[in-house]
């Protein structure tokens, strides 16, 4: 029914009214009486012993109130904190620093400027120590040991699948391709950096934390657990996550600055604000990727047989990834992708180096990007080794629609899919065969163009409680809906939008289920005192979990509404029928009651034996993950004189099941594609051999602008999730996950006839030119 604009309507985003008027309320907009400001002095060395911190040099700066060091925190047993992966991370160091830009000490002052001057004035004496930057070198015997509390730089070994069977299947294959590839460190670079306002009320023993977090409830529980020895209990902690300017996984971890600001508030008895600047954000906050992959893929008679991935994961000085606890390498074992193959084995070895800690999932459901990159690159290589067009090779090797639900050899049950349909649609849209003809002509003229495909399968919506938890907390999510007497509603969720448009899409789900227009439904998230418990928003999980909870809670309300309607209509419940927004008596469509009339009655005329009010809560434990997929095809032109890659066309066909708000879905895909071409062509955080960061600001960390992004051409297929209440799948990350491989495949395609078999990312002009030059194809004009 069009009138209430539920599913499938491009309703304008309700939250944009405040965002586009500059009325959003972000952390830095929060100003509390008497608030102090905190700034952090950071290490210039990647590894060094701290011999002395000269507090007096900072305290001499007018306005500086306090200097907080590791020793200050040690007194509260807060100098270290656990990571989500059960590793340890320094809040502030007692005696050594382990990476450049690590927090060394904090300065609290009466103004932001005084705090910055104090942090700059603070003198620290260091004795530099040997540095290990390369994770392969870190595993060598005798390598510099990064962690004093560990025996070696090896953090963990994780493997999945049958290595022996995979080796046998590769040995029995007629064609095997092998390729090493590195997905370098990148950073989410969200437009809002991280920060907090910590407000400790010593009289009430109550802590309010305004925090840039994607998971406020989980954070509150973690804070309660790590501060229990200080007498702080969960009911005395309120975490508020206000408007968030982009998270992308970077606002899942707990950063030292949050803890320091909290300690500073306790020490000073005043609210303390900490807002990191752009350089700090890029240099010290959690990075993503940094997987060194050795991949092998085999085929027999043109049919893919087996995949093997051996991986070195560079975690920096602490494993501060943000994966579900049972998955040290996230959902990397989705790496068999969209293909029907019988054997696979995957291993990951985590390594410590003198770099910032992390391993977060940058707009990605826990290492899915790494998995997709590996399989999509390898399938392309294998197709060519088989002498076949990469599109035809994919179409023949896809899991067929009749095989769903499909259990992969690595144990995932794919809920639904039609991979061939998506690829064929993308090929049609871009005119694949014509582009191939054009490429042949251009090659004859010495011009370089390439066409690249990525047919990805995602795995999102973590997740079913039997396997998914974070520090033991199951990864359900929640919705609590209350219908007011006048038929309007408030709905609260355990998730937290960072720009995804939850205030609109959740309202549309409820609108669809109850017939209340979206504008009549107020959606709230992010305040642990009011919202129901949930694990937050990341890994494309909001629609699969909290979105499902919204539908289920709405259906509970509808069930109660039916009883009230029966009472009002003096009819038997069994004789009532539902149309969107209204119950009516079967056979007498005129005799009915709208949801608004029913809501009023719930408070003014409820039936005897039934509680008043109209509200419901759902904690939704998903039976499975959802498996969105798509096919991306792009065409690139390469300038032989400069090595520059230009994306001429980019067609993205996405299948995320039922689309709640098509406009928001398209917006998600646009943004995801921009973030997808970014690591392929532009972004990398790199280090010199001394551990100095060499891409730690926006001069060097090249976030693409509108000028670098092509015009996106979007298409869709719709294969509903069979287990999700409204058939939806997550979509926020598909494009980031799927796009990089398409671009790499296109560039390699352009250079294939020259003998190029692989390109590492980012494919900067310098790197592409080197490949051209090596193969005698660089031009001078």
């Amino acid at each position: 029914m069009a009138k209430c604009r539920g599913l499938g309507h491009s309703v304008q985003r309700k939250e944009d009214a405040r965002f586009i008027r500059g009325q959003g309320r972000y952390i830095d907009d929060i100003k509390l009486p008497g608030m102090l400001y905190l700034d952090i002095t950071r290490s210039p060395y990647a590894h060094a012993k701290i011999t002395k911190i000269h507090d007096e040099t900072a305290l001499a700066v007018p306005g500086v109130a306090a200097v907080i060091t590791g020793k200050t925190l040690e007194a509260y047993n807060l100098a270290w904190m656990p990571t989500l992966m059960s590793d340890q991370q320094m809040v502030l160091p007692i005696d050594t620093v382990k990476y450049q830009a690590q927090e060394v000490a904090a300065v609290v002052a009466t103004s932001r400027y005084a705090a910055a001057d104090g942090a700059a004035a603070l003198e620290v004496d260091y004795e530099p120590l040997p540095v290990v930057v390369d994770p392969h070198a870190a595993l060598e015997p005798g390598a510099t040991r990064v962690r004093d509390d560990k025996d070696s730089n090896h953090i963990f070994h994780w493997e999945h699948g049958d290595r022996e069977a995979t080796e046998a299947a590769l040995a029995a294959s007629d064609t095997v391709v092998e390729q090493a590839m590195h997905l370098p460190r990148i950073h989410v670079a969200s437009i809002e950096t991280c920060g907090c306002v910590a407000s400790w009320n010593p009289v009430e023993g109550h802590l309010t934390l305004y925090l840039t977090t994607q998971a406020p409830h989980a954070i509150r529980t973690v804070v309660a657990l790590v501060t229990a020895h200080l007498g702080l209990a969960e009911h005395r902690i309120r975490v508020i996550s206000p408007d968030i300017g982009g998270g992308f996984g970077g606002k899942v971890p707990v950063y030292p600055g949050y803890v320091i600001a909290t300690a500073a508030s306790v020490v000073t008895g005043k609210p303390v604000k900490w807002i990191e600047d752009r350089s700090e954000n890029l240099q010290a906050d959690s990075f993503a990727r940094d997987y060194h992959i050795k991949a092998r893929l085999g085929s027999k008679g043109g049919k893919i047989t087996a995949l093997s991935l051996d991986t070195i994961a560079d975690h920096g000085y602490s494993d501060a990834a943000a994966n579900p606890s049972k998955f040290p390498a996230g959902l990397y074992h989705i790496c068999t992708g969209s293909y029907d193959l019988s054997d696979a084995h995957v291993s990951v070895d985590g390594v410590y180096t003198n770099k910032p800690p992390g391993g977060i999932a940058y707009r990605c459901s826990f290492r899915v990007t790494e998995a997709v990159h590996a399989i999509e690159r390898m399938v392309d290589l294998l197709a060519r080794e088989n002498g076949e067009d990469p599109a035809d090779f994919r179409l023949r090797n896809f899991i067929r629609p009749d095989q769903f639900p499909y259990t992969s050899v690595l144990g995932w049950e794919y809920d639904s899919g039609d991979y061939g349909a998506a690829l064929e649609k993308a090929m049609d849209m871009i005119g694949y065969r014509d582009l191939r003809a054009e490429q042949t002509e251009k090659r004859a003229r010495g011009e370089l163009m390439g066409i690249g495909i990525s047919s990805f399968t995602e795995i999102v919506g973590a997740g079913p409680s039997k396997t998914f938890d974070i520090l033991g907390i199951k990864m359900f999510d929640s919705s609590e809906i209350r219908i007011h007497p006048t038929g309007k509603a408030i709905a609260r969720f355990g998730t937290k939008s960072q720009g995804q448009g939850h205030e609109t899409t959740y309202a549309q789900i409820i609108a669809e289920e109850l017939g209340i227009p979206p504008e009549d439904i107020q959606v709230e998230e992010g305040d642990t005192d009011t919202a129901p418990y949930g694990l937050g928003t990341y890994a494309s999980r909001s629609t699969p979990t909290a979105g499902a909870a919204a539908a289920i809670a709405s259906r509970k309300i509808r069930a109660k509404a039916k009883k009230i309607a029966a009472h009002l209509l003096e009819a038997d419940e069994a004789d009532l029928e539902w149309e969107q927004g209204r119950f009516f008596v079967k056979g007498s469509p005129d005799r009915g009651k709208t949801i608004q009339e029913i809501a009023f009655a719930a408070y003014t005329n409820h039936p005897q034996g039934l509680e008043a009010g109209l509200e419901a809560t759902s904690y939704y434990d998903p039976p499975n993950l959802t498996f969105p997929f798509g096919s991306y095809v792009c065409a690139v032109d390469i300038d032989r004189g400069t090595g520059q890659v230009r994306i001429r066309r980019f067609v993205a066909v996405d299948d995320c099941g039922v689309r709640i708000n098509p406009m928001i879905v398209e917006g998600q895909i646009h943004g995801g594609l921009a973030m997808g071409i970014a690591p392929a062509l532009f972004e990398e955080i790199s280090y010199d051999p001394d551990g100095n960061i060499t891409g730690g600001n926006f001069v060097e960390y090249l976030v693409p602008t509108a000028m670098e992004t092509p015009h996106w051409e979007l298409g869709e297929t719709v294969t509903p999730s069979p287990h999700h209440p409204i058939g939806a799948k997550g979509v926020g990350e598909s494009a980031t996950v799927g796009a990089p491989a398409a671009v790499v495949n296109a560039v390699v395609d352009a250079l294939w006839h020259l003998g190029v078999r692989h390109m590492e990312i980012p494919m900067t002009p310098a790197r592409v030119w080197s490949a051209l030059n090596e193969h005698g194809a660089a031009a001078t004009r």
């Binding site: 001069v699 090249l702 693409p704 602008t705 030119w769 030059n773 660089a778 004009r781």
Partner: protein
């Protein structure tokens, strides 16, 4: 990203600005601020004071006079970019103005600032070298006894202007031959003679980035031959580099591909790049070569189209 403390002055005359500079040796002039302010936020520059030029009258404007295009030092890049005069008669300058920073930067950034900041990555310096432009510096020399400050409220000082050729202006990274208290007030580009054409080719990793390399070419055709040529390079050395050998390769030639190739090779040889994220030395030289060929061919085409 928070600069240290500094004093801030907004003088209303050049003489006052000059006095303030002399009185505060660590002070910097503030024009558009789009290079200086970021450096201050990174604490790479820590001037004791900023002397803002925005209230000083007469420092902005574009016009032809006395055989020159005269550009006031405080002219915004966006004004240059939009100027019909520049678009019509100074295509090399128009090309350059279009690729500086991004539109938001160009709305505030100034031509004089771009030149006088003397960042080897800035785009105007190479263009000015190719044009054989000159710069007018104004100072207020003291010919009496006593310090300037003591005399501040006494007799007005006499302005003294000095015209400096582009070849002499850039002395090193972020340094020019301007003397303490001397302020760049005007840029003069010789008006093009018949048969002139020019082009700027910049290769950047993304919009708003400093150039991997960029090449400015200005030349004049006479009787089918290149009679005059200026070739200069951006961001491949400690200063903008005038590629004299490339100019020599062009002069006397017909502007055909062979001559352009030779000039491009000579320009690449003249480059003195260092390796960084933008690429290796070998790569940057290759880019200079490619860009020189492209800039020169566009310059030749424009010269051929130019009114005789």
């Amino acid at each position: 990203m928070i600069p240290p403390q500094f004093d801030y002055h907004v003088p209303e005359s050049l003489a006052d600005a000059s006095r303030l500079l002399l009185a505060n040796p660590e002070a910097k002039l503030l024009a558009g601020g789009h290079s200086l302010i970021p450096m201050m936020r990174f604490r790479l520059a820590e001037p004791s004071a900023l002397v803002d030029l925005r209230k000083i009258p007469g420092l902005a404007g574009i016009g032809e006079a006395e055989g020159c295009l005269r550009i006031g030092a405080m002219t915004r890049e966006s004004e240059l970019e939009k100027s019909e005069l520049v678009q019509g008669r100074y295509p090399l300058l128009a090309d350059t103005a279009r690729v500086i920073g991004d539109p938001l930067v160009r709305n505030l950034a100034t031509v004089g600032g771009n030149v006088a900041h003397a960042d080897p990555g800035n785009d105007h310096p190479a263009t000015m070298l190719a044009y054989r432009a000159s710069f007018v510096g104004r100072s207020f020399p003291d010919r009496r006894s006593g310090t300037l400050l003591e005399q501040r409220h006494e007799l007005p000082l006499q302005a003294e202007d000095r015209t400096i050729g582009a070849d002499d202006f850039f002395t090193g990274p972020f340094s020019t031959c301007l003397k303490p208290g001397e302020i760049l007030i005007e840029i003069r580009i010789p008006a093009p003679e018949a048969g002139s054409g020019g082009a700027y080719e910049k290769f950047e990793r993304k919009v708003g980035d400093y150039a991997v390399a960029a090449v400015a070419v200005q030349l004049r055709l006479e009787g089918g031959r290149i009679a005059e040529a200026g070739v200069a390079l951006t961001n491949v050395g400690l200063t903008p580099i005038r590629a004299s050998a490339a100019e020599a390769a062009l002069i006397g030639s017909d502007g055909g591909e062979a001559a352009l190739d030779e000039a491009a090779g000579a320009a690449a040889a003249a480059a003195e790049p260092h390796e960084d994220h933008r690429g290796s030395v070998e790569y940057k030289r290759a880019v200079v070569r490619t860009l020189t060929f492209r800039a020169a061919s566009r310059a030749v085409a424009r010269a051929k189209e130019a009114p005789a």
